[in-house]
């Protein structure tokens, strides 16, 4: 549980604000990963405000100029994990949070703003050249532990971290967030078998099962179902929940999974909260044409 207690109403409001803010970005800049914001707004808000036991942000509340790539002479740059309360100093009983679906960066930034980990004005630097809040985040971007753009790798990095926590006897849990398309990656399944082999019951994955990916509906691009049965066959505990139900999302983290890692498959709607998107689905990257702009703007203003 987080240090600050948020009510379900507050979490729901944060989710609504995330959608509204990213809809605004899509309108003003011509496009954004809006369907991902719609599908994951409750999931990300609930993680930050109702599930993760992470300390207060240690990062700058304002956006920062891009601090340069990591190198032997640049290892002390401000890292994205600071915003999740982790500076590299051991905090054995705190949780860690890895975001694998890093094209959800706008959702992460907006969620950080909703729970006071960055300022709302920092969002103005989202996807602006030269700043640390890129459209697809890397490990200098607020909320990001690592550089996740090549799918399939972050689950393994998070699992390696969970393994390290076991070796050190740390009680904190390692959370990782994926979107369902990534479940097609072979490396993810290498990781799932190893996480089960090493009995990483401190490892919890939340998947935004919005059912869509770049080329269409996931079921048409490459079927990954039945995921619950597949994960159980791999030695995991796995449950499916309504990804817009805050209580269900919270309760899922408490699912007993002794000796096993846990996967929470969050069934979501990529048009949730913005019904105008329904006619576009499936849609990986929403662009708002000049013809559509007035309609979207009106909806935005009335949200």
């Amino acid at each position: 549980m987080p240090d600050v207690k948020y009510s379900n109403d507050q979490i729901a409001l944060a989710a609504k604000n995330i959608r509204k803010q990213i809809l605004g970005i899509a309108i003003n800049r011509g496009g954004c990963y809006l369907t991902q914001a719609c599908s994951s707004a409750e999931l990300v808000s609930t993680l930050y405000m109702g599930i993760l036991n992470i300390g207060p942000s240690l990062g700058s509340p304002e956006a920062l100029p891009f601090p340069g790539v990591p190198s032997p002479t640049n290892m002390d740059y401000p890292k994205g994990s600071l915003y999740n309360g982790y500076s590299g100093r051991e905090m054995p009983d705190r949780d860690r949070f890895f975001v694998s679906c890093c094209h959800y960066a706008s959702v992460i930034y907006c969620a950080l703003a909703e729970c006071g980990r960055i300022s709302h004005s920092a969002i103005e630097k989202f996807n602006v050249d030269g700043w640390n809040m890129e459209m697809i985040g890397a490990e200098h971007s607020p909320g990001f532990e690592n550089t996740a753009g090549s799918l399939g790798q972050t689950v393994s990095i998070a699992a390696g971290t969970a393994h390290a926590y076991k070796l050190k006897g740390n009680s904190g849990r390692i959370f990782c967030m994926l979107s369902d398309g990534e479940l097609e990656e072979g490396q993810a399944w290498e990781c799932f078998q190893a996480a089960s082999f090493y009995q990483l019951d401190n490892f919890i994955i939340y998947v935004d099962v919005n059912g869509q990916q770049v080329e269409g509906w996931t079921r048409d691009v490459m079927n990954t179902e039945p995921m619950v049965a597949r994960m159980k066959a791999f030695g995991w505990e796995a449950i499916e929940v309504d990804g817009h139900d805050i209580d269900a999302l919270k309760a899922a983290a408490e699912t007993p999974h002794e000796g096993k890692p846990l996967m929470v498959l969050c069934k979501t709607n990529p048009a949730q909260g913005v019904p105008l998107l329904e006619k576009m689905l499936p849609k990986h990257f929403v662009t708002v044409s000049s013809a559509e702009k007035a309609e979207f703007q009106k909806f935005h203003d009335e949200m």
């Binding site: 190198s71 550089t147 790798q153 971290t161 926590y165 490396q187 290498e190």
Partner: protein, 329 residues
């Protein structure tokens, strides 16, 4: 010349004792990569990851982020060709101290093309933050882990196993980014690495008897490649420069030397001896060195080409130094 056996196996025990945060990850080839004894002595620090190199690499990144010093053990070819994206995005980009211990480099395996890391240096030299070491003898096996440990970032090692000659005194460990001078001279600059240093030593022994003056550098740090000795050797070479390596002639030692020569305006010819832009096949090291023109005789022919003269040296003149062969897969 003394042949040492299973040097890495012994050395990593010493190394692991000094550094409790060192852990070994294996992709089902640990027993072929001299960490069998490590697994017995430190079972709680030996992690079997199965035949799944991608996960092993990124998993190691997670361990490294938590203060462990993971050492990945498998064949070199599986540590760069198969998992380059994981090497780059999980480890090299964040500049994590992960050590890739790659065995049977180049043509030192009869395992054939799938097992032969013949362009690994070429590929990995383009990866930022990565240091690359290419092992040439038992003394270097004993020294490389300490260099890797002290490097601030990821390290790729082309490691030799089983019976390996000791060319260099055990009391003179390898130095970071510093070539070992094996002979002094000013007619030819000769730079060699890995098992081809043995070939180069055979060639220089015979050529010196013919009165040739050779500056021979054994190179074991392929990245960074800023050792001033390379420029000095090339500058003073009257007839030109020759390289020999257990690797493609594209991207490895020869290419690195060519870049240094061009960048320093050293207007001399360069002959690169190595695998001539081809894959190889499965056979013994001796056979492959000869078949693919990576041996002492090819090196001598290259030097003759630079000098515009023939020394009339025959194969049987090169029999002096005995070789160790690699026959196990």
């Amino acid at each position: 010349m003394k042949i040492e056996t299973n040097t890495h196996s012994k050395n990593i025990l010493r190394f692991a004792k000094e550094h409790p945060e060192v852990v070994v990850l294996s992709a089902d080839l640990g027993t072929s990569c001299e960490v069998k004894d490590f697994a017995k002595v430190y079972p709680e620090r030996y992690f079997s990851m199965g035949i799944a190199e991608q996960n092993m690499c990124s998993w190691a990144a997670g361990l490294a982020r938590e203060g462990f010093r993971p050492m990945l053990h498998t064949f070199a070819v599986f540590l760069y060709r198969r998992i380059l994206d994981q090497v780059e995005m999980s480890v090299a980009y964040p500049n994590l101290p992960v050590i890739f211990v790659g065995f049977v480099p180049g043509i030192t395996t009869p395992g054939g093309v799938s097992h032969q890391s013949t362009n690994d240096i070429g590929v990995l030299r383009t990866v930022p933050n990565m240091a690359i070491f290419d092992i040439g003898d038992a003394t270097e096996i004993e020294g490389v882990l300490d260099l890797a440990y002290n490097y601030n970032g990821p390290v790729y090692i082309r490691m030799l196993r089983k019976d390996v000659p000791r060319f260099f005194p055990a009391s003179e460990p390898m130095k970071f980014n510093h070539a070992r001078v094996l002979s002094e001279g000013s007619d030819i600059a000769l730079l060699s690495s890995s098992v081809c240093t043995e070939e180069a030593m055979r060639a220089t022994a015979v050529l010196k008897a013919q009165g040739l003056s050779i500056q021979h550098l054994h190179v074991s740090t392929l990245k960074p490649f800023t050792d001033p000795q390379v420029v000095e050797a090339c500058n003073k070479a009257k007839y030109g420069v020759v390289t020999i390596e257990n690797h493609s002639v594209i991207g490895g030692l020869g290419t690195a030397v060519a870049e240094v020569m061009a960048e320093n305006g050293i207007n001399k010819r360069l002959v690169k001896v190595g695998l001539d832009d081809t894959y190889a096949h499965g056979a013994s090291k001796m056979y492959l060195l000869k078949k693919y023109g990576m041996d002492a005789m090819t090196l001598i022919n290259g030097i003759e080409d630079l000098m515009g003269k023939s020394f009339g040296i025959q194969e049987h003149d090169l029999e002096e130094i005995r070789f160790e062969d690699f026959t196990a897969v």
